[in-house]
């Protein structure tokens, strides 16, 4: 290499460093501005949303949409990015929901009850979110570790089973009385006593009637206002985006394409799949946890809130928006939430009520499943990749041709030593 060439290189490198530094500073500044702006906005919403939108059912809908965006984002990690089919997302949402409801109620009771204040929510909500995420993540590990080590669709079967088991255990657990068969187990020490203790604590969750706080009919304190719901959705959305556009996301996509090839270049399939499943479960736990203590929400956590239809809705959100697309999942979450609400509204119109009087047993919610199924089938035929496919809204267009330009620029520079022999005629 000539000395002139070296100087040129050095100069170019120096300029590159400076440009990098400037770009990094600009980026940091932009991020800080965005963060402050977003923080201000959600803070404002927390106090002003009620006066802005007087109808509490609309407020509830908006916050529910945000929670469902979280549901879709978290399912997208395992289902869209890693390509592992999980159909028991409701189970992890339920774990999060119950955890968060119990933790919030207990904390509320320890404050001595009273008003649900914004200041208190800074203790209650973070603790709830952490507990929900941790608990759901722990079960994600327990479910994911054995099923993701195997090749094939075992995860689908195991997650489906897990979600149903979770729901049914909570729904059917009862306080044991002297007449309860097997009550003698209470006296048994060791494993029988252990199971009895677990049974007693689960039955305290209210069974089929749902959990309604520490004291019966008190209701779960609804601490998560718009500040928390929208704020956490934003933060976790950014994290999901970063996960996709990082080496980790790339490795997950590679794994989805070809597991053997991914392993051959050092991506351990079990490790990546299990970790992403745990991340996905934690996200579902947070989403369920927020829903349970959402302001303007229902102060009861019911096992039926987490039935199979909820898992199915989550899958529809991801597939509709485009498997693997973060913005697509968010759009899917919002769309499905609004569809559910729209059908509920139609359900209440005089026309439908009239029809109902004529045709006994007409249920639009059942119809909804039919509509979904048809939409999904149509989507699979016409646009199997979903609305967005794997692409993103607002993705940086400049990023794409960059690699080529970089390569070109280098090529035009003088060639380094040891250029490869010209191989075949290409």
């Amino acid at each position: 290499m000539s000395s002139e060439g070296k100087d040129k290189d050095k100069a170019a490198a120096g300029a590159g460093d400076r440009a990098d530094g400037d770009a990094a500073r600009a980026k940091t500044a932009k991020r800080a501005a965005f963060a402050v702006g977003a923080f201000g906005l959600v803070l404002l919403l927390d106090f002003q949303l009620a006066s802005l939108i007087p109808d509490s059912s609309i407020r509830q809908l908006l916050m529910l949409a945000a929670c469902n965006v979280l549901v879709a984002l978290s399912l997208n990690v395992i289902n869209g990015m890693a390509g592992q089919f999980s159909i028991g997302h409701a189970g992890f949402m339920g774990l999060g929901g119950y955890t968060s409801a119990v933790v919030a109620s207990q904390l509320h009771a320890s404050f001595g009850g009273g008003e649900v204040t914004f200041a208190r929510s800074f203790i209650v909500v973070p603790v709830c979110v952490l507990c929900s995420a941790g608990f759901a993540g722990l079960f994600g590990l327990l479910v994911g570790l054995p099923s993701l080590r195997l090749k094939g669709d075992y995860l689908a079967i195991v997650t489906l089973g897990f979600a149903e088991i979770f729901r049914l255990v909570i729904a059917t657990a009862r306080e044991a009385t002297d007449e309860t068969p097997g009550h003698a187990w209470a006296a048994v020490r060791g494993i029988g006593g252990f199971f009895h203790a677990i049974g007693v604590s689960i039955s305290a969750l209210g069974g089929q009637n749902g959990y309604q706080g520490v004291n019966p009919n008190e209701g779960v304190p609804l601490y998560a206002g718009p500040f928390w719901v929208f704020g956490l959705t934003l933060v976790l959305g950014v994290l999901a985006w970063r996960l996709k556009f990082s080496g980790w996301g790339r490795a997950l996509r590679a794994l989805r394409e070809d597991e053997i090839a991914a392993a051959a270049v050092g991506v351990d399939p079990t490790r990546y799949k299990v970790t992403s499943f745990v991340i996905s479960s934690m996200g579902a736990g947070i989403a369920g946890g927020l829903m349970a203590i959402m302001r303007d929400g229902t102060p009861v956590v019911n096992p039926d809130n987490y039935n199979f239809q909820v898992s199915f809705d989550a899958i529809t959100m991801v597939i509709l928006g485009g498997s693997g697309s973060v913005s697509g999942a968010a759009i899917g979450g919002v769309l499905i939430t609004f569809t559910i609400k729209a059908i509920e509204l139609v359900q209440g119109t005089a026309f439908v009520l009239d029809l109902k009087r004529q045709f006994d047993g007409l249920d639009l919610n059942a119809l909804r499943m039919m509509v979904y199924a048809s939409v999904l089938v149509a989507l699979m035929v016409l646009r199997p990749e979903g609305l967005l496919g794997e692409r993103e809204l607002f993705s940086k267009k400049g990023r794409k041709p960059k690699a080529k330009a970089e390569a070109k620029a280098k090529k035009d520079d003088d060639a380094p030593k040891g250029d490869p022999p010209e191989g075949e005629a290409s």
Partner: protein, 267 residues
């Protein structure tokens, strides 16, 4: 680094795919593994890379025992490979295909990536630079942003080699790299394999049916038939080995008869 197989055996049900195979590949060698279809060549590759576990025998790289390791750990130990039926990450771009192979060398963990700490950016920058450099070496830089499925067959094969090279492997296993190549392309491949070995101080193990490539580039050849070793030596020795001739062309008697009958026909 020396790759050593000792008494390696693998059976699938009643089929003995690889039976008591032993060979050693010296550091910096270009080693050929040949044999008729179904001889167990690809199975040997799958055993070395951990896709299958051998029933018996030892596989070591340098002093490291590869048998108990998982495929990803074997890749980390310095064994790169390509596949007979090309296995690229179809939905990923050409550049991304290479970047996936960087996961092992990343310094930033998942948390650092999510928080976008400095380590994440410096990782991405160095990996990207290396990947682009390799793409340039393999003459694929112009296609860096194309999906890998859009490449021609020959370019896909070269991309697979480039991806394996991202691991900075000590041993490179090439499974039929010349499949589907014409004479000119195969000649080019020979030069490229030699160049790779010299430039990156590699050990290359080659499974190949194309004798033009095998005899032209390999210094040492191991011949398998029905999972058993039938010959070993330099290209000259192997080419004249009666068992090799028999495996590839059939027994001599038959051949003579066939020759005779064809001679009769022409007469």
């Amino acid at each position: 680094m020396k790759l050593l197989l000792e008494g390696v055996t693998k059976t699938f049900g009643g089929l003995r795919a690889v039976g008591d195979v032993s060979f050693s590949v010296e550091n910096g060698a270009i080693f050929g593994l040949i044999g008729p279809n179904g001889a167990g060549k690809t199975t040997v590759f799958n055993l070395v890379t951990g896709v299958y576990k051998p029933d018996e025998g030892k596989i070591t790289l340098g002093k490291k025992d590869l048998v108990p390791l998982k495929p990803a750990e074997i890749a980390a130990a310095g064994v790169g490979r390509t596949f007979q039926n090309i296995r690229l990450f179809g939905q990923l771009t050409v550049l991304e295909n290479l970047l996936v192979a960087c996961e092992l060398q990343k310094k930033a963990g998942l948390a650092a990536s999510l928080l976008r700490l400095g380590a994440h950016y410096s990782d991405e920058r160095t990996m990207r630079a290396r990947a682009l450099e390799l793409l340039r070496v393999f003459d694929l830089a112009d296609a860096a942003d194309e999906p890998s499925t859009s490449l021609s067959y020959g370019n896909q094969r070269r991309l697979e080699i480039a991806r394996a090279m991202m691991l900075s492997p000590k041993v490179l296993l090439l499974d039929e790299p010349a499949a589907g190549m014409n004479y000119g392309e195969a000649e080019g491949l020979k030069t490229q394999i030699r160049w790779l070995r010299d430039e990156f101080k590699l050990t290359v193990v080659l499974v190949e049916h194309n004798m033009q490539v095998v005899m032209g580039v390999c210094e040492d050849i191991h011949v398998l038939d029905h999972g058993e070793t039938i010959a070993h030596g330099t290209p000259d020795v192997v080419q004249k080995h009666p068992k090799v001739l028999a495996a590839y062309l059939g027994e001599e008697d038959e051949e003579a008869e066939a020759d005779a009958s064809s001679a009769e026909e022409t007469a």
